[in-house]
Symmetry: C2
Subunit: 154 residues, 2 copies
Amino acid sequence: MARSKATPVASPVEQVDTRYLQTLLGYNARRAALSIIGVFLERLAVYDLRPVDFSVMSVIHHNPGVTSRQLCATLSILPPNLVGLIQSLEARGLIERQPHPTDGRAVGLHPTAKGVSLMQQAEVTAAEVEIDASSKLTPHQRQTLVQLLQKIYL
Amino acid sequence: MARSKATPVASPVEQVDTRYLQTLLGYNARRAALSIIGVFLERLAVYDLRPVDFSVMSVIHHNPGVTSRQLCATLSILPPNLVGLIQSLEARGLIERQPHPTDGRAVGLHPTAKGVSLMQQAEVTAAEVEIDASSKLTPHQRQTLVQLLQKIYL
DNA sequence: TATTGTTATACTCTATAACTATA
DNA sequence: TATAGTTATAGAGTATAACAATA
Protein backbone atom coordinates (compact mmCIF):
# COMPACT_ATOMS: atom_id res chain seq x y z
CA MET A 1 0.00 0.00 0.00
CA ALA A 2 1.42 3.36 -1.00
CA ARG A 3 1.61 6.04 1.67
CA SER A 4 -1.05 8.65 0.92
CA LYS A 5 -0.05 11.36 3.38
CA ALA A 6 2.82 13.78 2.88
CA THR A 7 4.22 13.10 6.36
CA PRO A 8 6.63 10.15 6.52
CA VAL A 9 6.50 7.80 9.51
CA ALA A 10 9.79 8.95 10.93
CA SER A 11 9.38 12.69 10.40
CA PRO A 12 11.39 14.69 12.94
CA VAL A 13 9.58 16.46 15.77
CA GLU A 14 9.89 20.18 15.06
CA GLN A 15 8.27 21.54 18.19
CA VAL A 16 7.65 19.39 21.25
CA ASP A 17 3.97 19.36 22.16
CA THR A 18 3.61 19.64 25.93
CA ARG A 19 -0.09 20.42 26.00
CA TYR A 20 -0.97 17.18 27.74
CA LEU A 21 1.50 17.58 30.60
CA GLN A 22 0.38 21.17 30.99
CA THR A 23 -3.09 19.98 31.92
CA LEU A 24 -1.69 18.13 34.94
CA LEU A 25 -1.80 19.93 38.26
CA GLY A 26 1.18 18.04 39.66
CA TYR A 27 3.35 18.88 36.68
CA ASN A 28 2.46 22.56 36.84
CA ALA A 29 2.89 22.74 40.60
CA ARG A 30 6.33 21.15 40.42
CA ARG A 31 7.52 23.36 37.56
CA ALA A 32 6.23 26.50 39.28
CA ALA A 33 7.78 25.51 42.62
CA LEU A 34 11.16 24.85 40.99
CA SER A 35 10.96 28.19 39.19
CA ILE A 36 10.29 30.13 42.39
CA ILE A 37 12.87 28.15 44.38
CA GLY A 38 15.46 28.87 41.69
CA VAL A 39 15.02 32.61 42.16
CA PHE A 40 14.95 32.16 45.94
CA LEU A 41 18.20 30.19 45.83
CA GLU A 42 20.05 32.94 43.96
CA ARG A 43 18.76 35.86 45.97
CA LEU A 44 19.16 34.31 49.44
CA ALA A 45 22.71 33.18 48.65
CA VAL A 46 24.01 36.48 50.05
CA TYR A 47 22.78 35.30 53.47
CA ASP A 48 24.20 31.81 52.89
CA LEU A 49 20.70 30.41 53.35
CA ARG A 50 19.28 27.65 51.18
CA PRO A 51 15.50 27.27 51.14
CA VAL A 52 15.68 24.58 53.83
CA ASP A 53 17.92 26.74 56.03
CA PHE A 54 15.57 29.67 55.59
CA SER A 55 12.50 27.64 56.50
CA VAL A 56 14.19 26.14 59.57
CA MET A 57 15.45 29.56 60.70
CA SER A 58 12.04 31.05 60.01
CA VAL A 59 10.22 28.55 62.22
CA ILE A 60 12.77 29.08 65.02
CA HIS A 61 12.56 32.85 64.56
CA HIS A 62 8.79 32.87 64.90
CA ASN A 63 8.72 30.06 67.49
CA PRO A 64 11.63 30.54 69.90
CA GLY A 65 12.09 27.41 71.99
CA VAL A 66 10.70 25.06 69.35
CA THR A 67 12.14 21.53 69.50
CA SER A 68 13.82 19.55 66.75
CA ARG A 69 10.92 17.13 66.76
CA GLN A 70 8.42 19.93 66.24
CA LEU A 71 10.55 21.35 63.45
CA CYS A 72 10.63 17.98 61.72
CA ALA A 73 6.88 17.57 61.94
CA THR A 74 6.26 21.12 60.71
CA LEU A 75 8.60 21.03 57.74
CA SER A 76 8.42 17.33 56.86
CA ILE A 77 12.11 16.82 57.57
CA LEU A 78 13.26 13.47 58.94
CA PRO A 79 15.02 13.79 62.31
CA PRO A 80 18.40 12.40 61.14
CA ASN A 81 18.46 14.95 58.34
CA LEU A 82 17.76 17.87 60.66
CA VAL A 83 20.76 17.20 62.92
CA GLY A 84 23.34 18.56 60.48
CA LEU A 85 21.21 21.60 59.67
CA ILE A 86 20.87 22.53 63.34
CA GLN A 87 24.57 21.97 64.03
CA SER A 88 25.47 24.19 61.07
CA LEU A 89 23.14 27.02 62.14
CA GLU A 90 24.46 26.79 65.71
CA ALA A 91 28.08 26.83 64.51
CA ARG A 92 27.29 30.02 62.57
CA GLY A 93 25.97 31.63 65.74
CA LEU A 94 22.45 32.00 64.37
CA ILE A 95 20.70 29.79 66.92
CA GLU A 96 21.30 28.52 70.47
CA ARG A 97 20.23 25.23 72.01
CA GLN A 98 18.79 25.57 75.52
CA PRO A 99 17.43 22.94 77.91
CA HIS A 100 13.73 22.36 77.39
CA PRO A 101 11.77 23.72 80.40
CA THR A 102 9.59 20.65 80.88
CA ASP A 103 11.09 17.75 78.87
CA GLY A 104 14.62 16.61 79.72
CA ARG A 105 14.92 14.72 76.46
CA ALA A 106 14.16 17.69 74.25
CA VAL A 107 16.22 20.78 73.43
CA GLY A 108 14.71 24.22 72.82
CA LEU A 109 15.99 26.03 69.74
CA HIS A 110 16.30 29.81 70.08
CA PRO A 111 17.48 32.42 67.60
CA THR A 112 20.46 34.53 68.70
CA ALA A 113 20.44 38.30 68.23
CA LYS A 114 22.54 37.66 65.13
CA GLY A 115 20.00 35.11 63.92
CA VAL A 116 17.08 37.48 64.47
CA SER A 117 18.91 40.25 62.65
CA LEU A 118 19.75 37.98 59.72
CA MET A 119 16.20 36.71 59.41
CA GLN A 120 14.73 40.22 59.51
CA GLN A 121 16.86 41.07 56.48
CA ALA A 122 16.31 37.70 54.80
CA GLU A 123 12.55 38.00 55.11
CA VAL A 124 12.66 41.35 53.32
CA THR A 125 14.57 39.71 50.48
CA ALA A 126 12.18 36.75 50.49
CA ALA A 127 9.26 39.16 50.05
CA GLU A 128 11.03 40.70 47.06
CA VAL A 129 11.65 37.23 45.60
CA GLU A 130 7.93 36.48 45.89
CA ILE A 131 7.10 39.45 43.70
CA ASP A 132 9.89 38.94 41.18
CA ALA A 133 9.25 35.20 40.78
CA SER A 134 5.58 35.86 40.08
CA SER A 135 5.83 39.14 38.20
CA LYS A 136 3.11 38.14 35.74
CA LEU A 137 0.60 37.90 38.59
CA THR A 138 -1.41 40.73 40.10
CA PRO A 139 -1.43 40.98 43.91
CA HIS A 140 -4.95 39.60 43.86
CA GLN A 141 -3.94 36.65 41.68
CA ARG A 142 -0.97 35.99 43.96
CA GLN A 143 -3.29 35.86 46.94
CA THR A 144 -5.69 33.55 45.10
CA LEU A 145 -2.83 31.26 44.14
CA VAL A 146 -1.64 30.95 47.76
CA GLN A 147 -5.18 30.15 48.90
CA LEU A 148 -5.67 27.47 46.24
CA LEU A 149 -2.28 25.88 46.95
CA GLN A 150 -3.12 25.65 50.65
CA LYS A 151 -6.33 23.83 49.81
CA ILE A 152 -4.12 21.15 48.25
CA TYR A 153 -1.77 20.38 51.11
CA LEU A 154 -3.42 21.70 54.30
CA MET B 1 13.80 42.61 88.64
CA ALA B 2 10.91 40.26 89.14
CA ARG B 3 9.25 38.87 86.03
CA SER B 4 5.87 40.56 85.64
CA LYS B 5 4.35 38.39 82.90
CA ALA B 6 2.93 34.94 83.43
CA THR B 7 4.95 33.53 80.50
CA PRO B 8 8.51 32.50 81.43
CA VAL B 9 11.32 33.12 78.95
CA ALA B 10 11.81 29.47 78.12
CA SER B 11 8.18 28.44 77.92
CA PRO B 12 7.67 25.47 75.64
CA VAL B 13 6.12 25.99 72.22
CA GLU B 14 2.68 24.40 72.37
CA GLN B 15 1.63 24.86 68.78
CA VAL B 16 4.11 25.76 66.04
CA ASP B 17 3.10 28.98 64.31
CA THR B 18 3.61 28.59 60.55
CA ARG B 19 1.65 31.67 59.51
CA TYR B 20 4.71 33.43 58.16
CA LEU B 21 5.85 30.56 55.95
CA GLN B 22 2.29 30.16 54.72
CA THR B 23 2.42 33.64 53.21
CA LEU B 24 5.29 32.59 50.95
CA LEU B 25 4.39 31.46 47.44
CA GLY B 26 7.47 29.25 47.10
CA TYR B 27 6.74 27.43 50.35
CA ASN B 28 3.12 26.80 49.39
CA ALA B 29 3.99 25.74 45.86
CA ARG B 30 6.59 23.25 47.10
CA ARG B 31 4.31 21.77 49.76
CA ALA B 32 1.42 21.46 47.31
CA ALA B 33 3.63 19.90 44.62
CA LEU B 34 5.01 17.33 47.10
CA SER B 35 1.49 16.53 48.24
CA ILE B 36 0.23 15.88 44.70
CA ILE B 37 3.37 13.98 43.72
CA GLY B 38 2.97 11.78 46.79
CA VAL B 39 -0.46 10.68 45.64
CA PHE B 40 0.81 10.30 42.07
CA LEU B 41 3.69 8.12 43.27
CA GLU B 42 1.38 5.68 45.05
CA ARG B 43 -1.24 5.42 42.35
CA LEU B 44 1.12 5.09 39.37
CA ALA B 45 3.18 2.42 41.14
CA VAL B 46 0.96 -0.25 39.58
CA TYR B 47 2.41 0.76 36.21
CA ASP B 48 5.94 0.90 37.67
CA LEU B 49 6.12 4.53 36.61
CA ARG B 50 7.63 7.24 38.78
CA PRO B 51 6.66 10.84 37.99
CA VAL B 52 9.79 11.28 35.89
CA ASP B 53 9.11 8.05 33.96
CA PHE B 54 5.54 9.14 33.36
CA SER B 55 6.55 12.58 32.09
CA VAL B 56 9.21 11.11 29.78
CA MET B 57 6.81 8.47 28.45
CA SER B 58 4.11 11.11 28.07
CA VAL B 59 6.31 13.37 25.93
CA ILE B 60 7.35 10.40 23.76
CA HIS B 61 3.75 9.21 23.55
CA HIS B 62 2.52 12.59 22.32
CA ASN B 63 5.65 13.32 20.28
CA PRO B 64 6.78 10.08 18.59
CA GLY B 65 10.27 10.53 17.18
CA VAL B 66 11.31 13.13 19.76
CA THR B 67 15.04 13.15 20.50
CA SER B 68 16.76 12.83 23.87
CA ARG B 69 17.97 16.39 23.57
CA GLN B 70 14.44 17.68 23.01
CA LEU B 71 13.23 15.65 25.98
CA CYS B 72 15.92 17.13 28.19
CA ALA B 73 15.07 20.69 27.16
CA THR B 74 11.34 20.08 27.61
CA LEU B 75 11.52 18.46 31.04
CA SER B 76 14.63 20.19 32.42
CA ILE B 77 16.50 16.91 32.70
CA LEU B 78 20.27 16.92 32.20
CA PRO B 79 21.39 14.65 29.33
CA PRO B 80 23.50 12.30 31.47
CA ASN B 81 20.54 11.73 33.76
CA LEU B 82 18.21 10.85 30.91
CA VAL B 83 20.37 8.03 29.56
CA GLY B 84 19.44 5.55 32.29
CA LEU B 85 15.76 6.45 32.08
CA ILE B 86 15.66 5.81 28.33
CA GLN B 87 17.60 2.56 28.63
CA SER B 88 15.19 1.37 31.32
CA LEU B 89 12.09 2.22 29.30
CA GLU B 90 13.59 0.54 26.24
CA ALA B 91 14.50 -2.58 28.24
CA ARG B 92 10.88 -2.75 29.40
CA GLY B 93 9.72 -2.68 25.79
CA LEU B 94 7.86 0.60 26.21
CA ILE B 95 9.88 2.61 23.71
CA GLU B 96 12.06 1.99 20.66
CA ARG B 97 15.05 3.96 19.42
CA GLN B 98 15.07 4.58 15.68
CA PRO B 99 17.55 6.43 13.49
CA HIS B 100 16.71 10.11 13.19
CA PRO B 101 15.51 10.86 9.63
CA THR B 102 17.67 13.96 9.13
CA ASP B 103 20.35 14.01 11.85
CA GLY B 104 22.77 11.11 12.06
CA ARG B 105 23.83 12.08 15.57
CA ALA B 106 20.35 12.01 17.01
CA VAL B 107 18.05 9.09 17.84
CA GLY B 108 14.28 9.24 17.51
CA LEU B 109 12.33 7.87 20.47
CA HIS B 110 9.10 6.09 19.63
CA PRO B 111 6.54 4.42 21.87
CA THR B 112 5.90 0.74 21.20
CA ALA B 113 2.35 -0.63 21.05
CA LYS B 114 2.93 -1.81 24.61
CA GLY B 115 4.08 1.68 25.57
CA VAL B 116 1.06 3.34 23.99
CA SER B 117 -1.25 0.92 25.73
CA LEU B 118 0.40 1.48 29.08
CA MET B 119 0.27 5.26 28.74
CA GLN B 120 -3.39 5.22 27.74
CA GLN B 121 -4.14 3.45 31.01
CA ALA B 122 -1.67 5.52 33.03
CA GLU B 123 -3.16 8.77 31.79
CA VAL B 124 -6.58 7.67 32.99
CA THR B 125 -5.10 7.02 36.43
CA ALA B 126 -3.23 10.33 36.33
CA ALA B 127 -6.51 12.13 35.67
CA GLU B 128 -8.01 10.41 38.72
CA VAL B 129 -5.00 11.42 40.81
CA GLU B 130 -5.52 15.04 39.77
CA ILE B 131 -9.01 15.02 41.21
CA ASP B 132 -8.18 13.08 44.36
CA ALA B 133 -5.10 15.14 45.19
CA SER B 134 -7.12 18.35 44.90
CA SER B 135 -10.45 17.16 46.23
CA LYS B 136 -11.06 20.42 48.11
CA LEU B 137 -11.03 22.33 44.81
CA THR B 138 -13.94 22.86 42.46
CA PRO B 139 -13.28 22.16 38.76
CA HIS B 140 -13.23 25.91 38.18
CA GLN B 141 -10.73 26.46 41.00
CA ARG B 142 -8.57 23.65 39.62
CA GLN B 143 -8.55 25.32 36.22
CA THR B 144 -7.70 28.69 37.79
CA LEU B 145 -4.85 27.10 39.75
CA VAL B 146 -3.32 25.57 36.62
CA GLN B 147 -3.53 28.91 34.81
CA LEU B 148 -1.90 30.82 37.67
CA LEU B 149 0.87 28.22 38.04
CA GLN B 150 1.66 28.48 34.33
CA LYS B 151 2.02 32.24 34.69
CA ILE B 152 4.85 31.52 37.13
CA TYR B 153 7.02 29.21 35.06
CA LEU B 154 6.05 29.71 31.41
C1' DT C 1 7.15 0.95 76.85
C1' DA C 2 7.38 5.26 74.12
C1' DT C 3 9.80 9.42 72.65
C1' DT C 4 13.87 12.84 71.69
C1' DG C 5 17.94 13.39 69.66
C1' DT C 6 21.69 11.17 67.48
C1' DT C 7 24.98 8.16 64.50
C1' DA C 8 25.81 5.48 60.65
C1' DT C 9 24.54 4.37 56.30
C1' DA C 10 22.08 3.54 51.98
C1' DC C 11 19.51 5.16 48.26
C1' DT C 12 17.89 8.59 45.00
C1' DC C 13 18.29 12.81 42.60
C1' DT C 14 20.98 16.29 40.44
C1' DA C 15 25.24 18.27 38.55
C1' DT C 16 29.98 18.50 36.10
C1' DA C 17 33.78 16.94 33.10
C1' DA C 18 35.16 14.58 29.31
C1' DC C 19 34.76 11.43 25.43
C1' DT C 20 32.73 9.71 20.33
C1' DA C 21 30.45 10.36 16.44
C1' DT C 22 28.22 13.39 13.36
C1' DA C 23 26.77 18.23 11.58
C1' DT D 1 33.71 24.41 15.63
C1' DA D 2 29.32 22.95 17.51
C1' DT D 3 25.94 19.46 18.82
C1' DA D 4 23.77 14.57 20.22
C1' DG D 5 24.44 10.97 23.00
C1' DT D 6 27.16 8.70 26.36
C1' DT D 7 30.31 7.45 30.48
C1' DA D 8 32.12 8.22 34.88
C1' DT D 9 31.75 10.50 38.95
C1' DA D 10 30.72 13.90 42.46
C1' DG D 11 27.47 16.22 45.30
C1' DA D 12 22.96 17.11 47.41
C1' DG D 13 18.76 15.39 49.08
C1' DT D 14 16.05 11.76 51.29
C1' DA D 15 15.42 7.31 53.57
C1' DT D 16 15.82 3.32 57.23
C1' DA D 17 17.89 0.96 61.34
C1' DA D 18 19.63 1.25 65.68
C1' DC D 19 21.36 3.39 69.91
C1' DA D 20 21.53 6.36 74.61
C1' DA D 21 18.98 9.33 77.58
C1' DT D 22 14.68 10.57 79.40
C1' DA D 23 9.40 10.37 79.82
